[in-house]
Assembly symmetry: D2
């Protein structure tokens, strides 16, 4: 992640602000406000604004005239209750805004979360930065043989080298040809004064999907948690999970009580189907259970046993 | 609008906060933060939180690393351009939260704006306040004879008196019977110690639609303007317009540049259809136009002529 | 539920249509199409249109050129997989439209589900029907002493009689005064030819919340299931659950495979928190567990034990 | 656009369905149902399902028990009225589903319309087709000198040839390396039996943005018109406009009355600001107007004059 001097200065200017407000503030989150936290090789996440804190959830749930906080104890209990029973609206009362730099193929996954506000850097209007994602060696994985949309073992040695070279060469060549077609270099200088370049909205089609883009992304706390629940999950693609992990940290700083409840009920929790409940009940009674009479598919069976860490029951 | 001593104190406590923040702040809006601004007889609007200001729109539109503000002039031009060309996403980057007390029949209109976050006071859980809306004399209008969903002349004299009495008596009697069924008075005291009352979720069905409810309502700037465009319009029902007018004032304090553009392009502007455009062109050329050859219905014709204040052309 | 002769005829006319289409159709659902299925005393639900069936989910998940159906077996497996892993978008590919008549206080709960399309009968424009909900004797419950938003025992005898009389009298009186203020009776006849009535948009405020309204409500399959998951639940208010139950029947007719998966994974399933998982694991191992060392609140503990029907563990 | 034999057969199978339904049908739209209508060089649009027709809008607006149609005349008037006054909900009562094949850089513009349901072909799960968009000669435009996000003159001769070669070579090379990394060809054959390929979710990042993807896209009539209003506009990028044009044709077949109103009030219409209205009024009175006293910027002035085709007033 390389920022220009100008960008570093702009961020410093933001961070040096000391404004007075009657709104609730979150000192822990203010500490990292505007900071560019590195993700992947050239990406970052910056928290650029927020509204509300844990007390705002309580305040809204109570439709309070005041701060909505009676005692911390009561607030913790209420927030846990709301989370456990899937109450949604009080968590929508907090809002956060991120500035994110990320590879286009990850941006395409991310944008599927529709309940958010987005302004993306426009490649119709401007030239994209000359930056593309190249996986670190340990993230260069082969296709999983058991999960059609997952990764298997790490690729090493000559094959790894070759893959990285292909990715690097193709990204560089297509970017260089992008500049060629635009008749303009990434730093804004013209290549051939006697020519007009191809329209930016066309030239961009030559870029590879690992090119970095950036956007402002704003969402409420409920939808942030919906995002994190899916994208910080071990089944999510590593590259988006890397962003989700950093966002989980900002969640913890921002709304620590909600964060605890979220980790307990959502991230660390599990769902059990009606059929699965019967199996668990038999197991508690000390009865034998088997796949055939369970009504579960083999896959479901294993998912259930894994969820409760019953390794000897895997088949 | 009557607040209890406790509520007044809670509001004062909020207003006495002086927190330090690196976020952008809007001093003009901070001045009225948390204040209960009266609307109708017992309703109010309170701004309880906000995120962003005019510069946040510019910042997001530019996907800026810094404040997004170069010069005020450029910002004004950009915001006007975005408004004129119906750009939507940059205006979604600002957020505002209101606490509103309003009659139920108005709440039912209001809630139709779906892109907002709402927590309403629960009459399943708590007893509603003993407050109902009674129109001021000058707002007691007869059914319009020309607009099926509008108002005609003001009702006066004996008929007005009678209407107001009916509204008042029915609201008071149904509320009193609500307490009776609950076996509990609005101040929380029990009526008959030897009885259990009807469930709150049932008893509430006896209340009339002018009973006041309250909610927290949070939305982004784009959707706030969509709301105001419809609800501050002269065709909106007076009672919701009264709220929209107060919210227009808070819009002006919050994002003055956007407010100007909104008033010019949306509130004060008009749409002209393809057929309407031809009529206007003929009028500019000094040519005669008439309804028959216009392709417009009589109603459309009059709407067009009214929009341009061409009273002599009304038919 | 009383329909006018005209309404009955209109419904019959719709049902007698025999159109030819290349779209997928669901014969089981066609059988009840347009039928007014009674709910509560004067309400109903009618399925008035639908798009897609179980195969449409599979088709979209596969981005198929054809019907998306290979073998029924494979389809069942895929739909169950999608449901289990919270895939959402394929279920959004089916759409259903209902015409619903319901009491206003229930409409106010219902409308909180925002991801739906709604057209409500306008009481600004028209006069509402003279129909209000009066609970059947067995649904007249007292306030729960343990759940602030629930019902306790059924109310009987004199108290029940009194409550029903109050509800009936107040609804009738306020409706009668509504007509009086409108100067128009519910059948459209004018009361006093020499007077103009109060504007409809004002007069309606005198009605009680058990007055029936009606609307067209359209949503996709995913959001229908979100609605049913909450509203067919035993914690939902009886009156909205009555509607949800009827809608569950239509779900079963429409998308039987999805219905099975929904009942297994959502309606009949349960969530277990990270802490709860540890307790269950200990129970399976045959170890003792107790509240104090569990990290659960007493409420959580009981919810967990109830979920797995471990009545001897309730405390 | 090349379809495989299998795909052609699947489409034929769908088209040969003759199902009986009580739902409203639209014979004109049924004629083209499932057909792959070519767009750009390798893309297409297929209408794969729909719900409702013009009468459904009227039916919902009237919350009707029957078809909602009284007389065609009245329906036309009502639909025009609803469109003119920006009523939104009745238009949400119709739904349409498309299967679209389109270049990724266009998919990225398209997906910004959030109020729609989408299932995209997954490149985590499957291999993308070997097809990329190459602009036709007449669409190869240079960057506009006056509009930062638009096109200028067409590029011709040697420069055009060079651009097309670069685009073609880069797409082919990156695709070929994509196969190489996957160790699998686009037809599913393995390249080297002794190797495992790179995970699909990684390899895809090497593809260029003109690679074709495909999705199922479903939306309601209101949001379809919002999409078309922006994307069929002359300021939209040509490549997305090409899709919008085909969709406009399907709109016309589907809901001809709504289509007429849409073309008159939205597509062919214009907005005039408060300040613009005053200028038009002066022009109608035959008075002189000038930029300086107008309060308009030069850009606004020209937009206004262009909207009314007053070429002599352009400055």
């Amino acid at each position: 992640m390389k920022l220009t001097k100008e960008q570093i200065q702009e961020i410093k200017d933001q961070q040096s602000q000391q404004n007075s407000t009657k709104r609730v503030t979150v000192p822990e989150l203010e500490k990292v406000l505007y900071e560019a936290i590195q993700v992947l090789d050239h990406g970052f996440i910056r928290v650029v604004d927020y509204m509300g804190d844990d007390s705002s959830i309580v305040q809204a749930a109570r439709v309070s005239y005041g701060k909505g906080t009676k005692k911390v104890n009561t607030d913790v209990g209420l927030i846990k209750y709301l989370m456990r029973h899937w109450h949604s609206t009080p968590f929508e009362m907090c809002e956060i805004k991120y500035h994110v730099k990320l590879p286009i193929f990850i941006a395409r996954q991310w944008i599927r979360h529709r309940t958010a506000n987005v302004n993306e850097y426009s490649a119709r209007y401007s030239i994209l930065d000359k930056e593309f994602y190249l996986p670190a060696q340990e993230h260069l994985a082969s296709q999983s043989q058991i999960n059609r949309q997952g990764r298997g073992d790490v690729i090493k040695g000559e094959q790894a080298k070759k893959v990285l070279n292909l990715l690097k060469d193709d990204a560089e060549r297509t970017y260089s040809n992008y500049e060629e077609m635009l008749n303009e270099r990434y730093d804004g200088t013209t290549i051939d004064e006697n020519q007009t370049g191809l329209a930016r909205e066309l030239a961009r089609m030559n870029l590879t999907l690992n090119t970095y883009t950036q956007w402002y992304w704003k969402t409420d706390l409920l939808n942030l948690m919906n995002f994190l629940r899916l994208r910080a999950d071990s089944h999510a693609q590593y590259e988006i999970r890397a962003y989700a992990q950093v966002m989980l940290d900002t969640l913890k700083k921002w709304v620590p009580i909600t964060y605890e409840a979220f980790m307990d009920y959502r991230v660390g929790g599990t769902e059990v189907s009606a059929k699965g409940k019967k199996i668990i009940q038999e197991l508690i009674k000390g009865n034998k259970v088997d796949l055939d009479s369970s009504g579960l598919s083999k896959r479901e069976w294993n998912e259930l046993m894994s969820a409760f860490d019953l390794k000897d029951k895997l088949i």
